[in-house]
Amino acid sequence: KGISDDEVRIGYLADMSGTYSALAGSGGLEAAKMAIEDFGGKVNGKKITIVSADDQNKPDIGANKVRQWIDVDNIDMVAGMVSSAVTIAVNKVVEAKDKISIVSGSASSAITNQYCTANSVHYVYDTYALAHGTGEAVVQEGGDTWFFLTADYAFGHAMEGDVTSVVKASGGKVVGGVRHPLATNDFSSFILQAQASGAKIVGLANAGADTTNALKTAKEFGVVQAGQKLAGLLIFLTDVYSLGLETTQGLQLTTGFYWDRTPETRAWAERYKERTGAMPTMVQAGIYSSVNHYLNAVKAAGTDATEAVMSQMKKTPINDFFATNGQIRDDGRMIHDMYLAEVKKPSESQSEWDLYKILRTIPADKAFRPLSESKCKLVAGR
């Protein structure tokens, strides 16, 4: 028992330079470091260290890195993780080596569903939550026929699937869709197909640069003028910031965190902005919160042994600027309140980062897939 080799070692894995680098990337690393500093740099008198690596959104690079971290560098916990494909691969390694991973960046709800492991926590959000937040809101406003532009890998598929069931459940219809490779730069022919489909809503089951490119092309081809609406299913603060309010105004989106929601969020976000020059995305905020929660668990359990820490994390509720009464379920899903937000009009925005207004709160128990529907091997049959 106790702290293995007298150090708590955290590995931060994320896309540091690619399509998804803005939403976690170096900002996420900074957030993790903030958490460690705020914790005092030590837990139970033992040093906390952090190393980081760029997975380039490639499962093999991520998994190999983590394998080496665990085999050679004795890493105890892996944080960050963006691309769902990388996450699933890494979680396999983490499970086989019996260490811990806390996923903040990935979206696929499959991570705690068919791919769930006892060694992983999915912390911030997932496609189920996004689908139920944004999808439901859009259908309720009359957007009952959908066409999907889907990123062709784990995340896109999960997103499309989750939204499809929401749309169908609310009486809508999916009339078609196309799957595009990750990091596509020419969306014109896809947009053309979306236009030809006659659907009321063009759902963007993609993220990062793919979403921004699709939005741009849609604008060029006059999709909105022609009477169709776009639904960005996974949009981060940084996307809105870089596209500008002109292009994005009125978009509805679901988020797990917005900096300008409460005094606590504002206080933390300002500190973060001072260090990085930008306001945090929900992922970056979640990374801080998750690292903090992990360190608390290590401290309470008095060891960094996997099983003890996992059970400590699961039995302690999370209460910080990020989540109120957050709770890690047996399948690894951390459930907390989510928020439906709308992008402000340029005229409504007061300052550079004043981008969203929160429409409503989606309570934790509604936001995430109930265990009763889960295919996770850890909870099935319950």
């Binding site: 540091m16 330079s17 690596a53 760029d54 490639k58 499962p59 093999d60 690079i61 998994a63 190999n64 890195k65 394998r67 080496q68 085999d71 050679v72 769902s84 494909a85 699933i88 691969a89 396999k92 062709d152 890998y153 784990a154 490779p181 990750l182």
Partner: protein, 323 residues
């Protein structure tokens, strides 16, 4: 006559010298995992085999294939698939993967060998890109996700490879076999004709050799061995992904071969070890995001001033100074 006897005894000497060298290397290979992280060593071996296979084409066939990634990936995916879905033992999985790569090599070869030089390079590149896109979409590859959690399984159904040590010796054995096959091919009647074709193709035709067939056989051997490397690699890392199929991988194997020394038997091994070590080392440090730039720079330097590669330069140096 005297000159001839002299010659042959000199040859015997160099052969026995070579024997010594091989024995030493074999020994080093056997003890290496005691000192170095075995997964890293296995990676080096896989890439070394890959580069040797590639070198058979470029160094001995005079054909620059810019599509060898396709074979590496095919071996990996097929092995991963059959091991996971059919539950076969690792050696059978590797065999099937290798054969599939060789078959793909046959198809590539049939198409590309009709053109020479730069065209050959471009056609193989384009074909491998086609394969890349097929693998992006094909259901059995898992697309962008790749195949994850491939079990290493039990060798012949008895020896578990889950631990790194037994896996290492398995990989080492495969490497030695592959390397021996390449060595033999180069020094075989077939290798002689290959050399002749590289020297003067029209003349070989006029002597009645069907050069396309020879090139094709060489290409199939090369593709098969590249597949063998990929198959083995997928078991080592328990994963196969699109990275292996991407054309950057084809470029990397060229770099390894060029850096080590094109047309030398050990060049590709040295080149692969250097590149893999470099990547591993750099990806930890502050230069991580400069890795592609550094690889590019090495490329440029090799092409401009270092064309015979590390081993080639050493051989030149040795020739100059010791003979």
């Amino acid at each position: 006559m005297t000159t001839q006897t002299l010659d042959s005894s000199a040859m015997d000497k160099s052969v026995s010298k070579n024997r010594m060298l091989y024995a030493v290397l074999l020994f080093l290979g056997l003890v290496a995992p005691l000192a170095i992280y075995p997964v890293f060593l296995m990676k080096v071996l896989c890439f070394a085999l890959f580069a040797c296979a590639f070198n058979l084409m470029l160094g001995y066939g005079g054909l620059l294939s810019f599509g060898h990634a396709a074979f590496l990936a095919t071996g990996g995916y097929i092995t991963g698939h059959v091991v996971m879905q059919w539950g076969v033992t690792p050696e059978i999985g590797i065999l099937i993967g290798t054969l599939c790569s060789a078959a793909m090599g046959f198809v590539f070869g049939k198409l590309a060998i009709r053109r020479q030089g730069i065209y050959f390079a471009m056609i193989t590149l384009a074909l491998s890109q086609l394969v890349f896109f097929l693998y992006v979409q094909a259901p059995f590859t898992g697309g962008e996700n790749g195949l994850q959690g491939i079990p290493r399984g039990e060798l012949f159904g008895v020896i578990s490879l889950a631990d790194n040590m037994p896996m290492y010796y398995f990989v080492f054995a495969i490497f030695v076999l592959g390397f021996a096959l390449i060595h033999r091919t180069i020094h075989s009647p077939f290798g002689q004709i290959l050399k002749a074709i590289r020297e003067n193709e029209p003349r070989a035709v006029s002597l009645g050799y069907d050069v396309d067939k020879y090139k094709l056989v060489a290409f199939v051997i090369s593709a098969g061995l590249a597949g063998l490397a990929g198959s083995t690699k997928s078991l080592v890392f328990q994963l196969s992904s699109l990275t292996d199929a991407h054309w950057h991988m084809s470029g990397e194997v060229i770099l390894m071969t060029l850096l080590g020394g094109v047309g030398t038997i050990f060049g590709p091994v040295v080149g692969a070890a250097t590149v893999v070590t470099l990547q591993n080392y750099l990806s930890q440090g502050p230069l991580a995001s400069w890795v592609p730039v550094i690889l590019g720079l090495i490329f440029v330097i090799c092409v401009l001033i270092f064309r015979s590669g590390i081993v080639g330069e050493i051989q030149k140096f040795a020739k100059k100074n010791f003979s």
